[in-house]
Symmetry: C2
């Protein structure tokens, strides 16, 4: 297949592609705001029509929340199927006064388009649809079997999407999954994500006296629950950045040598991050770099802590109770429920019997690791190289992505690739969100090549 | 002097004494509520008139807050002067719905009078005035030199009283001070307080990133200020209940053997307190009893702590900052400013240089210790024995009393006795505050004997 004609069509139609993209960007699909319910339905319907126009069998899957757009093209019974995920909903726009242009009136300045959702996630999945559209318009078919899923509640937790996925596993069945909701590692450094950390999350409350009591009258005798709490929490991580719960590292999969080598070569802007966040130093785990500590190593964080008097001046009390929320980021092959068990056992051994505490185990998330040498990765690697002038870096993400775990749980556990064309400084979730026109088109071009590469590799394989 | 006639007069006039007391109790002198400004003035005027009726030279000392009642009787130039302190203001009555009788309509049930302020502090100073009144009515004079000070803002911090005291030291000049604002150690166990703990109070804030950041993206690398904070605070007190700041105990005056012996014999209701406060155990300092730890030993308490996400569910952030308020209760001869210096120096040595924190030193209070063998104590000891059937216990209080420190600072540093006839379970500051009629009259009788004993001891001495 000679693809140059297709690439030519993309280039000669840049203006109409942008015009079409802007139609989508003008739709105020804020899922968190019930006033935009009609906008969500309108957009889903618009996307269904678009998918139908480009050769896919598309329809709306209703949920008790926002509708899910589902489209498929599966004419080759002997070939595997790729499911592509995106979301058409966007974050709220507040604070509106900080926007320099109206969030739903896309505006070009230089190479950038400014609009809410232009990066997250409209620009990501729309570039994929555009690549399909142009291939279909030029060839009358698409290379391979595809399912497209575009949900409308990603920004509010994908709750109804999970209901749908769990109840209709067969419909979504696929062999590989591409989540078009990530981005470049840094501008000009495209990336493919092949792993994500998991999460174990807890809330602990220590109780002291039944009510706040006078610290003069009772201080020195009556147990102070804030002191109990901090004594417990301060024992969970040592000064070398290591978690002290026995067995915590038992299942941890060490990063492989090639992963560490690659990470060492990544253009990680440590000084920029320090400046941006106003921190004087990173505090990574002993024997690991800060990037490794933030992506391939488990860690402990206190997310919130509260108890006693927090107003102005000095109120002299022993508080009745004190609580904290804290989390462990997990790495392959740690299991949240096992970590919870280890943690609770450890508590029993370190907390004196006269300290009253209770722990709530909040929902955990499993870590994800797929094989970055699978065809979906190698195909994208070549395709991106063709149009970005460099191979994408292979990375693991430090956080969790809800839908990735849903796909892992309900569909395929081990062939999930996360990708996208946005950059970390696009202001996702913030005022003046923007997206590079150049990257948008490089994304369309890369997707065209990816579709053919992936297809070819499957046939070859 | 044969006092039996005086004691007889008290007994035969119980009803009219109570009627008179109830007049005072009906005055809603809530200093915290500006609606009661006129009530405060009216009560102060009523007290001035009463003092004048019983042989004292009395007047109102205006302040920019509630007026102070000042009365004196100093006919003996060669004898020392005793200043007696009380306060006519009371706490607010809320929650009103929990009162079984109207708070300003004193009601007798069994041996108890129910009314706001009946114990704290109207019952305490009024019993003193009643003793004076009856002596004066029977003898036409009072034994000794006295100054009476009754302020109207004790429940809101005595701020204007301090202004007055500091600007008119000469007017208040006295040789001994009796603060009629304490109470019995336990019902039936009268007490004299000869020492109070002091206070050093701090607020600390640790800062991490400039704003809350995602714990998935940055966890393991970006410093978590809540972890920094708890690591600092958890190092300040060891598991033996000892404060770990170098030099902290340098100035600490150990309790004397007789004090420890006496404390060991006190009817300290450890089990009752555990039950009332719903605690399983006391956590006292090693080698000290819980009562000692709560009164004659310094200690550390966290009064409040806050930072990060405190709502429901799991929000995965590294908070931008985390703060805590905490205090050290100090004992003689610890000085708050010196403790602050030691603490700040210690911080520098234990906190790694890449942790950002700042500390605010809030106003401290000096501990107080007077000699319980001085005449004021011995006179009261005998007087109380006469009417309560047992000697009062000598105790040191765990908290601080604002006016005691004012008197120490502006008048006499070392002859301050705190006394009163109320009991710990009188519900002071709570709904249904009450006071034993029997203790009220035992208080009047004891005060009569005290006034003569004290006077006699001075002449003897």
């Amino acid at each position: 297949m000679n693809l140059s004609a297709i690439h030519q069509v993309i280039e000669t139609n840049r203006q109409s592609i942008l015009d079409h993209f802007f139609e989508l960007l003008r739709m105020p699909t804020i899922s968190a705001d019930s006033n935009h319910k009609d906008d969500l339905h309108h957009t889903a319907y618009w996307l269904v029509q678009y998918c139908q126009k480009i050769g896919l069998k598309a329809r709306i899957l209703p949920t008790s929340g926002a509708p899910v757009v589902f489209a498929e093209y599966c004419p080759y019974p002997n070939l595997p199927t790729l499911l592509i995920y995106g979301h058409y909903d966007v974050q709220p726009v507040d604070p509106l006064e900080q926007w320099l242009t109206p969030p739903f009136n896309p505006t070009i300045k230089g190479d950038m388009i400014y609009a809410r959702g232009v990066d997250d996630d409209k620009g990501q999945f729309f570039s994929f649809l555009k690549a399909m559209e142009i291939i279909y318009s030029q060839t009358g078919s698409l290379p391979g079997n595809y399912k497209i899923v575009i949900e409308g509640e990603e920004e509010i937790g994908s709750a109804h999407f999970e209901e749908l996925l769990s109840s209709q596993k067969k419909l979504f069945q696929a062999d590989s999954i591409l989540i078009m909701d990530a981005g470049q590692f840094d501008r000009g450094v495209p990336a493919l994500v092949y792993g994500l950390r998991g999460l174990a999350y807890f809330e602990i409350t220590c109780t002291g006296p039944a009510f706040d009591v006078h610290s003069g009258q009772f201080g020195g005798g009556v147990p102070n629950p804030a002191i109990s709490l901090i004594k417990i929490l301060s024992q969970l991580k040592n000064d070398r950045g290591q978690i002290t719960i026995p067995g915590f590292y038992q299942d941890v999969q060490e990063p492989e040598p090639w992963e560490r080598e690659q990470m060492a070569q990544l253009p990680f802007q440590e000084e920029n991050i320090k400046k941006e966040l106003s921190i004087r130093a990173f505090q990574q785990e002993l024997n690991y770099t800060s990037l490794e500590s933030m992506t391939v190593r488990p860690t402990f964080d206190i997310c919130g802590i509260w108890g006693g008097y927090t107003g102005s001046g000095s109120k002299t009390i022993i508080p009745a109770r004190c609580s904290a929320k804290f989390s462990f980021r997990l790495v392959p092959n740690q299991i949240p429920s096992k970590i919870a068990t280890l943690f609770l056992e450890h508590l029993k051994s370190i907390v004196p019997p006269d300290i009253d505490y209770r722990v709530e185990v909040l929902p955990g998330i499993e870590p994800i690791l797929t094989d970055p040498h699978k065809p979906i990765f190698t195909a994208f690697n070549q395709a991106i190289k063709n149009h970005f002038g460099r191979s994408p870096v292979l990375i693991r993400g430090g956080g969790s992505v809800g839908v990735a775990n849903l796909f892992k749980r309900y569909l395929v556990p081990d062939s999930i690739c996360m990708n996208g064309w946005g950059s970390p400084d696009d202001g996702v979730h913030s005022p003046n969100e923007h997206f590079s026109i150049n990257d948008f088109f490089r994304g369309i071009h890369s997707t065209v090549d990816f579709l053919y590469e992936f297809q070819a590799s499957l046939i070859r394989g």
